[in-house]
């Protein structure tokens, strides 16, 4: 039985096409992926992302515990700040990528991928059990939160109509607890689209009120409800990784281009030794951005060739609605990541030429 978010009735009402995603029945599109995608790029889109998981970490050693659990440097966070990070296995493979919110030094909230919530929580519990951080308390609080993502250049204007919170004082990757449409929310200036915007966490019982209020005040700014289809094409244009595609237990953050969040200079974290070894031995595979030089739509799983020889695989691909060209993220052999390198993607019986390009694909 698939889980449903608190906004399920609203999705049905608006005629959304529903699909299974990570154990949830989610809207993939309302009116069309391309229209919703372009609304987010040029105006604003509203996404139901309530399927995401939330895990609370509390206690006097919470920060030290997260420092061991995650690859990024948690000690750099101030109260009210968020950080993109990942958890690794001792092998260096990725458990999940996530956001950490710091309320204070003894209170953090982790936002994790929907399909991984149970696995992540079990992993965190196990790490806790095997460690000396006995004062740390973790709870899977996913059922206490719905999450709406309001994204796009008009997002701030729209949100300002429903809140007294001084939005201009919430910098990127910061958050604030306030009221939106009289609903208590965490207002987080984060997102997965490459646009300015907010992710709003609220109690599931208030989610419908918040959803309807936002769509009502945002209509004249061009706000559209947007589904997972547009969420995927938007993140792909930014080359943001998606767990299960660009990240997995078989792919390290160094291979996935997440060296910038992997603080090997921290004295200790799970996976550090393996990642250091990989760094020293040479990173064997690289995630590259590929732009097709001819017509075609690359998809996850398509093989990648260089001079006729197989060198990797497409991890995600689509037709970029902004560029109107095929774009792909591919995991390829080290040495082929230089922009300008020409590779071939096997699309059914054809070999289609694609160029390694600098990412994000879309530059503003």
């Amino acid at each position: 039985m698939l889980k449903r978010t608190a906004l399920y009735p609203a999705h049905r009402e608006m005629g959304a096409r529903m699909v299974e995603f990570g154990g949830w029945e989610m809207p993939v599109q309302y009116r069309g992926v391309i229209e919703e995608h372009l609304a987010v790029r040029h105006a604003a889109g509203l996404f139901d992302v309530s399927h995401m998981g939330e895990i609370e970490v509390k206690g006097p050693q919470a920060e030290a515990f997260l420092q061991e659990l995650c690859v990024n440097d948690v000690s750099r966070l101030s109260n009210g700040q968020a950080q993109y990070t990942a958890m690794c296995y001792p092998t260096g493979g990725v458990v999940d990528d996530l956001l950490i919110y710091r309320f204070d030094g003894e209170h953090f909230l982790l936002c994790v991928n929907a399909a991984n919530t149970d696995k992540d929580f079990a992993w965190i519990e196990q790490v806790l059990e095997d460690s000396d951080f006995s004062a740390v308390k973790c709870r899977n609080v996913s059922a206490d939160f719905a999450q709406l993502a309001l994204q796009g250049p008009a997002a701030v204007t729209i949100l300002a109509r429903l809140t007294d919170t001084a939005l201009e004082r919430i910098a990127s990757y910061h958050f604030y607890e306030g009221l939106v449409a009289q609903v208590p929310c965490i207002l987080s200036r984060t997102g997965y689209t490459g646009e300015d915007g907010f992710e709003l966490y609220c109690h599931p019982e208030a989610a419908l009120t918040l959803w309807r209020a936002l769509l009502e005040v945002g209509g004249d700014e061009g706000l559209l409800p947007a589904g997972l289809g547009a969420r995927d094409t938007l993140r792909l244009e930014m080359k943001y990784p998606l767990y299960g595609h660009e990240l997995s237990p078989e792919i390290t953050p160094l291979e996935a281009g997440l060296g910038w969040i992997t603080r090997l200079d921290k004295p200790s974290f799970i996976g550090r030794e393996a990642l250091l070894r990989q760094q020293e031995a040479g990173i064997p595979r690289r995630l590259v951005g590929l732009l097709l030089t001819e017509a075609g739509v690359p998809r996850a799983g398509y093989p990648v060739f260089h001079g006729g020889e197989p060198v990797g695989v497409v991890t995600s691909g689509t037709l970029s609605p902004s560029l109107r060209q095929g774009i792909a993220i591919a995991l390829v052999r080290d040495g082929l990541q230089r922009p300008g390198t020409l590779l071939d993607i096997g699309i059914r019986q054809r070999r289609v030429t694609a160029e390694v390009v600098k990412t994000p694909f879309l530059r503003k």
Binding site: R17, V28, V33, I34, G229, A295, V297, R299, L319, R348
Partner: protein, 127 residues
């Protein structure tokens, strides 16, 4: 959703316009709606022989790849050359500008296998 009475249909969601031994083929309103935004179309060359029930082309939306099956056997005598340049026409005009190929049929008996509009409507309601 529209299913013109003058057309025949297949369970793979193609439509067929029969004019003597020449049939025009495209995808139905239901098919284009299910696919979503069509972004890529691959069609055969003129002269290719197609076989009933076998794929002759591909339609891709943002989210999915779909084979297009020949409703009848025969030879491709005309191809909508504009379609690969303007694949979105499949969404906006599936029965007119979105036509895909014309086939000269080799076995008129295969036409009896096709559904009429009512039968097709019933079929998709059950699906």
């Amino acid at each position: 959703m529209e299913f013109p009475e003058e057309l025949k249909y297949t369970e793979e969601h193609e439509w067929v316009l029969v004019e003597d031994d020449l049939v025009t083929v495209g995808i139905t309103d239901f098919a284009q709606d299910s696919l979503g935004d069509v972004v890529f179309v691959e069609l055969p060359e003129v002269g290719v022989k197609v076989e009933a029930g076998k794929p002759f082309g591909v339609v891709e939306s943002v989210k999915a790849v779909s084979d297009i099956y020949a409703p009848v056997s025969g030879e491709v005598v005309e191809v909508n050359e504009e379609l690969p340049e303007t694949p979105e026409v499949l969404n906006t005009s599936p029965y007119e500008d979105g036509w895909m190929i014309k086939i000269r049929i080799s076995d008129p008996g295969e036409l009896d296998e096709l559904l009429d509009a009512d039968a097709y409507r019933e079929f998709i309601e059950e699906e």
